[in-house]
Symmetry: C2
């Protein structure tokens, strides 16, 4: 049985939003499962000297703002920049891991709903209240999700996932690892597909 | 008549090497000409706060080194990292502009020969002697090329091209502008094609 694709992302990543909407369908065509790994790029950037795209110089910043929307349009997705941006993905990521072990499909539905709220509608999912509101609108029990956000085991899980991602070489979002091969960026998803089809090159 | 694609690159850019080998064929399929613009990213980085990929943190640096070679292999090109790297593209760029006005095809042949020497064979094209050797091997008159490297008009041309590129929003290499739309990266060349075919989206 072919290995799953590891899909790493930060909820505050516009390209992560686009990739999250594409990855499962892309993988399914080739009989691959996908393991979703929400992570926090902040601690990784601190260790690696990385920085958010919007903290780039003016030319690059203008380009990526334009490209966020263009990449979403190409994938048939609405796009609105949330305010504030970047935002802290702690609450969103904990909500994901709090659900994932018992009901992975629900966790993935929540992840997409969170991304849609942030980058489809420009809503603030940086705070617990924003995350809980999205969860409730997605048919989940708000008090269960609120509990996850404060659960020490969930907090540890997010810390561990982030540390493991960094150890695996992840330094940006989205990031894919397929059969041990790393690919960075939504714009590399076609290359991930080609890698699977050709067994590498 | 459709506008040409503007193709900006720094000779010290591995992804520029790969894109230089792909761009003309890609454009020709869609009846587009390509205007080549060698530029110097150094002065642009100084103004914009950008930095060379290899000056990134260790995770990203390891990734791009792997990805340079992988991107070249996918395009059917050999790949060897030159030493030193990054190198100064002043001499290579001046040689290009010294030839371009009188014989653009020769200038383009020289550009590909310079890229092949640097990233196909790992040779040093940072110094005038390296550039002249490549030019001679490509059948050009070494003394003419040597003269270009010291020609004040050629020096001004490279300075102007770099300034105009920065004004057009260029902040990395390779960079394409098609019908006013900017695309950054060899990995966006397929998107340039799609943009032409669909007239944007």
């Amino acid at each position: 049985m072919a290995l799953p694709i590891d899909f790493y992302f930060d909820f505050s990543s516009p390209y992560g939003y686009v990739a999250a909407h594409r990855i499962d369908a892309v993988a399914a065509v080739h009989g691959r499962a996908v393991t979703w790994h929400p992570i926090l790029l902040g601690p990784i950037f601190k260790n690696t000297g990385g920085r958010a795209l919007v903290k780039s110089g003016p030319g690059k910043r203008a380009y990526v703002q334009r490209d966020f929307a263009r990449s979403a349009r190409r994938a048939g997705l609405p796009f609105t920049m949330p305010e504030p941006f970047p935002f802290l993905a702690v609450a969103a990521s904990r909500a994901y891991y709090g659900l994932a072990d018992s009901d992975e499909r629900a966790a993935r539905r929540l992840a997409l709903a969170l991304f849609d709220a942030a980058f489809g509608e420009g809503r603030d999912i940086g705070k617990p209240a924003g995350v809980i509101a999205v969860a409730q609108a997605a048919g989940l029990d708000g008090s269960v999700v609120a509990g996850c956000l404060e659960d020490p085991a969930v907090k540890d899980r997010l810390r561990d996932e982030t540390a493991q991602a960094e150890a695996a070489g992840v330094f940006g979002s989205p990031f894919f690892i397929v059969d041990g091969e790393p690919f960075w960026g939504n714009d590399r998803l076609d290359e991930v597909v080609a890698w699977i089809e050709q067994g590498g090159w």
